[in-house]
């Protein structure tokens, strides 16, 4: 190893961002091992969900509006998380809400984000000498790196058994989901390994949450075209650990194969819901009001930017805004706090992964209803709104691009107010975007109207692999 190690202090966002940029562009040159300190207990915004105040965090589940069950760990995301939160914050608009104990905020608000101050250790390496780049030898070495992810779940037997044992909670049903992410389809080969790990877990947890469930454990099947490096695998595990902490879920077991083709991660996630209370997709009724959480289209635009950064200039986006959109693509944030709200107030719900129009069509098809969506009511983040203002054609990406991982809910009109209030109390922004109608001319039909009530002619409804 020809690496050299330095300790550096980065104070203030600018320095931190420069370091982050270097780490992103040249992960072989700079790896960030963070210790962060936030001077002010500022909020996280735009549906964002990072707690930025580790020093005041109790880790208690009873903290008002805390989105995470293990807050202490969630307070120490990597530098990228913190910057992402800050960017979201600057990009948002609206009111700012503080948690009861003053250190959590969750609404879409133009908040005072405080000044993030970072003190971390950066490890620099000369070109051509990526850190710990030796490939893994043997499945046992992979298990050794992943086993700490099971630390909170004794039933995983530290990945030293063939199966895991899960003791169900009496009075609860299990909610089951499997979803895979693959290089070239769901992520880019040069995405940070920690982002890939985060995303693989987040897309599954997003489904559980939309069904009103609390995540518990997951199984993970990895397929590598070649043995990964120790460095890559550790970073991947780090992203998973961050996601686990945020989502309150734990690795229970897995399988690792080597095969040609893309790197892929297939997760099967298990959550819990009070018996018989899983929120169904097929339960919407004509006349229900349709809501979505957070903002839509950010990830779809982020994907475009991730593919071709020059589009930021075409859309006249500030660098921070562009980064915020890319971040939404890289690190979906399931709306954990919305799960009990959906159970209590929604008639039907599902997460949005393949695009609003396509997924809403699926809900309507399953429910035997149709829907009208008012395009002007679809909630946009400030960067997405800015981009669409410059390039109106981006509306199609917002409505059909997918990767939102927000919640779509159908709510009976007489429950609308209580749903909105409960969502607000949970710190999750929800927006009413339309309503369900009787099946005219057929079930599953989704009509999108502009602000004059004219029907928009969409060239596609969403993502379909086939």
């Amino acid at each position: 190893m020809r690496s050299t190690t330095h300790e550096r202090d980065y104070s203030g966002r600018g320095c931190a961002r420069n370091a982050l940029d270097l780490a992103r562009r040249r992960p072989d040159r700079l790896r960030v091992e963070h210790r962060c300190r936030v001077d002010r207990p500022a909020a996280v915004v735009a549906g964002g969900s990072f707690c930025t105040s580790p020093s005041r965090c109790t880790g208690s589940k009873s903290v008002a509006n805390c989105h995470f069950r293990n807050c202490r760990r969630a307070c120490l995301p990597d530098l990228a998380c913190l910057l992402g939160a800050a960017h979201n914050c600057r990009a948002a608009n609206g009111r700012h809400r503080q948690g009861r104990r003053g250190h959590h905020g969750g609404s879409r608000g133009h908040a005072d984000c405080g000044v993030l101050r970072h003190k971390f250790r950066s490890v620099t390496h000369p070109p051509g000498s990526p850190p710990t780049s030796s490939p893994i030898t043997g499945e046992a070495a992979i298990i050794d790196i992943l086993a700490p992810l099971t630390a909170r779940f004794p039933g995983a037997f530290a990945l030293k058994d063939d199966c895991a044992a899960l003791v169900p909670t009496p009075g609860y049903d299990l909610v089951l989901k499997t979803d895979a992410v693959a290089e070239g389809v769901h992520f880019f080969a040069d995405d940070a390994a920690s982002d890939i790990g985060w995303k693989a877990l987040a897309v599954n947890v997003s489904d559980l949450v939309a069904k009103g469930a609390r995540p518990r454990v997951y199984l993970m099947a990895l397929a590598f075209p070649a043995p990964p490096s120790l460095h890559w695998l550790r970073d991947f595990a780090r992203g998973l650990e961050q996601a686990q902490t945020c989502f309150g879920i734990t690795l229970a077991g897995g399988d690792t194969d080597r095969r040609h083709g893309p790197l892929s991660i297939t997760i099967a996630a298990i959550g819990e819901v009070p018996a018989g209370r899983m929120v169904r997709r097929a339960a919407a009724e004509a006349g229900d009001l349709l809501y979505v959480s957070g903002t839509l289209g950010d990830a779809a635009l982020g994907l475009k930017l991730r593919s071709d950064g020059s589009q930021a200039a075409q859309w006249e986006l500030a660098p921070d805004d562009a980064l915020a959109l890319v971040r939404r693509y890289l690190r979906p944030e399931p709306r954990l706090a919305l799960a009990p709200v959906l159970r209590d107030h929604a008639r039907a719900a599902m997460d949005l992964s393949d695009g609003l129009v396509k997924d809403l069509g699926r809900m309507m098809q399953a429910s035997g209803t149709a829907a009208v969506v008012h395009a002007a009511k679809v909630p946009l983040s400030k960067p997405a709104a800015a981009a669409q203002a410059r390039t109106p054609a981006l509306l199609i990406d917002v409505l059909t691009g997918g990767d939102d991982y927000e919640v779509l809910a159908a709510v009976a009109p007489d429950r609308a107010k209580s749903f909105e209030q409960a969502a607000a109390a949970a710190g999750i922004a929800v927006a009413r975007i339309g309503e369900t109608t009787p099946r005219r001319p057929e079930a599953g039909r989704v009509v999108v109207q502009d602000h004059d009530g004219r029907q928009l002619d969409l060239v596609r409804s969403g993502w379909d692999h086939f």
Copy 2:
């Protein structure tokens, strides 16, 4: 479609096998839609698990020694299954045991198999016109074909929801497993789709069974490099349905992606075990006796034959014997009836998938023990024994080749007799192959001795992807 359809009667095994051979070699020319009738209630053998007496089958769970909970369905496997059973039968040796109601047998026995008589409808097609070969369009079409696999599990919501809901059985723990199979690694691209489906499920169920669990439901993530044809997907679903019926497990949900690379099927299987009773890998103690179920090495030799059929002549194998070995590779048969026996009598257990020496090493490593295996005591099927007699070097494949999907168990000496009796009562052959020792010189060490007690020098221990 330029296809033509004929009804034909095939009576006697020879005719049926000819038809099977055609169906195997040219699935585009002949598709077998079977109706089978078995004249005599003959046994199934060599650890085999096909009931060959549909007319006398009750479908009751209480049938003595019935390995399957839904026997009526298991009685109608495809023609290949029946032939496979017959081949196993002819290949086996030892005693023959009938079930209490006279129509099930499960031991390794040289049984009178009766004469299988098949009446089935064959659909022939002119060359270049494969039946229903049009590719799938849209994920919804895939779901339509797979949804019937959920028919026995209302919590799957017929694949019309985003998640499944599982009501746990009070007093039981859940046992969780994920395992993937991929083209080019675990199966051949031109394997029958029904065999691929069977195998994908069997390799997961095998793990559950070795932990003493009863299978319940599974999730399945499919990755296709190109849209499959309707014909392929229906055949795949047929293999899954046969496996489901045999194993008493049901599809609960899934995910389908399209990506470059090999076709792969990732299953997460969930079983149940009385609370706290999962049979562990890490619980063996020095002095335990080591047992395996069935026969080892068949699948490893079958893989060699599947790769290069000319080896059958080198090993001087009869065609039926060669086919029996290939069949063991194509359709692993988890030892469902052994699950309660393991719970009641074994100290530690796991399934054998990566080769006896490697997997035993894992058990010893986890248990902090070492092991001695007596090569001469490793149980071989008649075809495997014949092949090894001609080609002694095949011993290494038997010991390390993998794909056995048999059970390895460590049993305390004072439980050995009761273990053997209970296994016999369950109709599963078990063979004592060695014993555990204190960790000398280190935990995980496995010594294989020949019949003179000399240590064999193995060039490898088993399969490792990395």
